[in-house]
């Protein structure tokens, strides 16, 4: 390349083009690998169906989520109420759908926030190194060292802990491991020849990070984010248990599960259905994460 200094720009473009092609075929390989991971495929389909159903709750649901009917409380599953009714006579199936809407949204958004912060911090630290790295990593240590659930309990006590607040709280406390993983991966990738080469070719910092480094740590980020969705759903239910979740009458799977605890013995369906919803969702998320890990792992 040194012989063709004048055509550097073209070469650079070609190089980038080349990598893009490689990436595209990588994606194809990953996709075919993922498809072979049956459990992951099934999970992905289940999740997709669940998510679409829940998001379409206002259209799909047979009742309104807060339609109280004191004449028909605690009905067993029947033809009129597919999954029965709760202690206030509300249709459980309807609430499960609306609850899923909130729970899945909390899961996705929190995981997104966590991943975004984690990636930004990790990438910045890993790429620039030196003082910036040191500062950001100490910050990560700090956030990592404070016991998370107690801290969330404190934050959960703040006024107006509605859905948005909850998403922010969960998101803000789940970025640390992503940051560390991304930083570690970047440190490793930075050593690689093609990054040095891209730098030598005059590519800017941003371009190098975006085009060369992020794609290579992509698999860690994606897997982390996937698992984060499941974690966030579980955390939401834990906070509900402690009375710090989303305020009623807005349903979430967590607060539905919590509300039904008192009558677990006599009205088991009230506790089993939201429990199963959480279980299935988180299970599928994890299987999918597992599949993605295999699919994206370049060494396999």
């Amino acid at each position: 390349m040194t012989e063709h200094n004048d055509s550097l720009a073209t070469d650079n473009a070609l190089l980038v083009e080349g990598i893009d092609t490689v990436q595209r075929s990588n994606a194809r390989i990953a996709w075919s690998k993922f498809r072979r991971h049956r459990l992951a495929m099934i999970s992905a389909v289940v999740l997709l169906v669940l998510t679409v159903l829940c998001m379409a709750a206002p259209i799909v649901a047979p009742y309104e989520f807060d339609a109280i009917d004191l004449a028909n409380i605690r009905q067993r599953p029947n033809a009129v109420h597919l999954l029965g009714t709760d202690a206030l006579g509300r249709d459980l199936f309807t609430r499960l759908l609306f609850g899923g809407r909130i729970s899945i949204t909390i899961g996705l958004t929190s995981a997104f926030i966590g991943t975004l912060i984690g990636t930004l911090v990790g990438a910045t630290a890993g790429y620039y190194g030196g003082r910036i790295d040191n500062l950001l990593m100490r910050l990560t240590d700090l956030a990592y060292s404070i016991p998370t659930l107690p801290l969330m309990i404190v934050l959960g006590a703040y006024a107006d802990t509605q859905v948005l607040g909850l998403m922010l709280i969960i998101g803000f406390f789940s970025w640390m491991s992503t940051a560390r993983v991304v930083r570690g991966a970047i440190l490793a990738v930075k050593q690689n020849d093609y990054v040095t080469a891209a730098h030598a070719l005059g590519a800017g910092d941003r371009a190098v990070v975006l085009r060369h480094i992020i794609p290579n740590v992509f698999n860690s980020i994606v897997v982390g984010a996937t698992l984060g969705v499941g974690d966030a759903i579980i955390v939401e239910s834990s906070l509900s248990f402690l009375g710090l979740g989303v305020s009623p009458p807005i349903p979430t799977w967590g607060n539905m599960l919590m509300d039904s605890q008192a009558t677990m013995a006599s009205e088991p369906w009230l506790t089993i259905f939201p429990g199963m919803a959480i279980l299935i969702t988180v299970l599928c998320v994890n299987f999918m994460g597992d599949g993605l890990q295999d699919a994206l792992d370049p060494t396999l």
């Binding site: 459990l39 107690p150 605890q261």
Partner: protein, 317 residues
């Protein structure tokens, strides 16, 4: 090595100061104050009594004054006096710690004994029926909200079968080993399940990585049996990252298990934290959070040192 440790210890100081500021600020800023407990009974309370209460606790002073006082006392080993119980925070933590450690310790040991073999076998027989079962098990364990699982166990084993007691560490007046064992089974199971799930996954992937390494292939090539290779070469190397993960889990032991302890009436640190939170018992909350954070920071260092010790490829300078 010695210099590395000293440097790390020095680095802990600003970290701990940072942590203390963050914790203090967040706890102090939480809405409502310790006077809330005065109103908790739902009875009339003279407003003058509320002011007097706040004044005696010192929460009527500016926040930075409270912080400096608190840090000053902490440096001399005094974590303050609990608002609620009028007792030294340190005493109360010391009182609760043994039960927390016992519960967590049992869960920890059970989890270690089960998770490591589970992970190893899953990896060795990747994609086998065993592997899938183990995977499904750990995912189910991760996907079950703790409180749900705990109350479910109670319902089955205490209410229906009447085998195990619901709450406490011991039947008062019956203090035998068997009795204590019966009390610890359910909470320890709830906690252990999550560790097993997490660690066995870790062990599996670490083992998978190692099995693909050149030296393992070389060992096979030298004609060593599969059993020997796995037991001697692979297991040792695969354990290294898992050990460091487990070391960090030990650190988290000290902050207790908030939900499990609440459900099983277990007198540990986690429960203490919840009680103190409702009462806005600032010194107690700060004490528990600081201790928890300190343990993580300290064990982080331990983990790194252990890692370096186990893995000769890493050198500290």
């Amino acid at each position: 090595m010695g210099r590395y440790v000293i440097r790390r210890i020095l680095q802990m100081i600003p970290l701990l100061i940072g942590i203390s500021i963050v914790i203090f600020a967040i706890i102090q800023a939480a809405p409502g104050g310790p006077e809330g407990t005065l109103l908790d009974r739902g009875m009339f309370v003279d407003p003058a009594a509320i002011d007097a209460y706040r004044a005696r606790l010192g929460v009527d002073q500016p926040v930075y004054v409270q912080y400096l006082k608190w840090v000053g006392a902490m440096l001399s080993g005094d974590l303050g006096i609990s608002f609620q119980t009028q007792r030294p925070v340190l005493d109360m933590i010391a009182e609760r710690l043994p039960d927390t450690l016992r519960l967590m310790g049992v869960a920890f040991v059970v989890a270690t004994v089960l998770a490591i073999p589970l992970g190893v076998f899953s990896a060795v027989r990747q994609y086998s029926a065993f592997d899938y079962t183990a995977t499904a098990f750990s995912f189910v364990a991760i996907a079950m909200p703790v409180f749900w699982f705990g109350l479910m166990l109670q319902f089955i084993f205490s209410v229906r079968l009447q085998w195990l007691p619901v709450a406490g560490t011991v039947t008062v007046g019956v203090d035998t080993f068997g009795d204590r064992l019966r009390h610890i089974i359910m909470p320890a199971t709830v906690l252990a399940l999550h560790y097993i799930a997490g660690w066995s996954r870790y062990m599996r992937s670490s083992m998978l990585g190692v099995l693909r390494q050149d030296y393992v292939r070389t060992a096979y090539a030298k004609g060593l049996t599969r059993r020997t290779v796995i037991a001697i070469h692979a297991l040792k190397n695969a354990s290294i990252p898992v050990v460091s993960v487990m070391t960090l889990s030990i650190a988290k032991l000290f902050s207790g298990a908030v939900i499990t302890e609440t459900i099983f009436g277990w007198p540990g640190i986690g429960r203490l934290f919840i009680q103190s939170m409702h009462a806005r018992d600032y010194p107690m909350l700060m004490g528990i959070m600081m201790m928890g954070s300190f343990m993580v920071v300290a064990f982080n260092l331990v983990a790194d040192v252990v890692y370096g010790f186990l893995d000769p490829r890493i050198s500290y300078d």
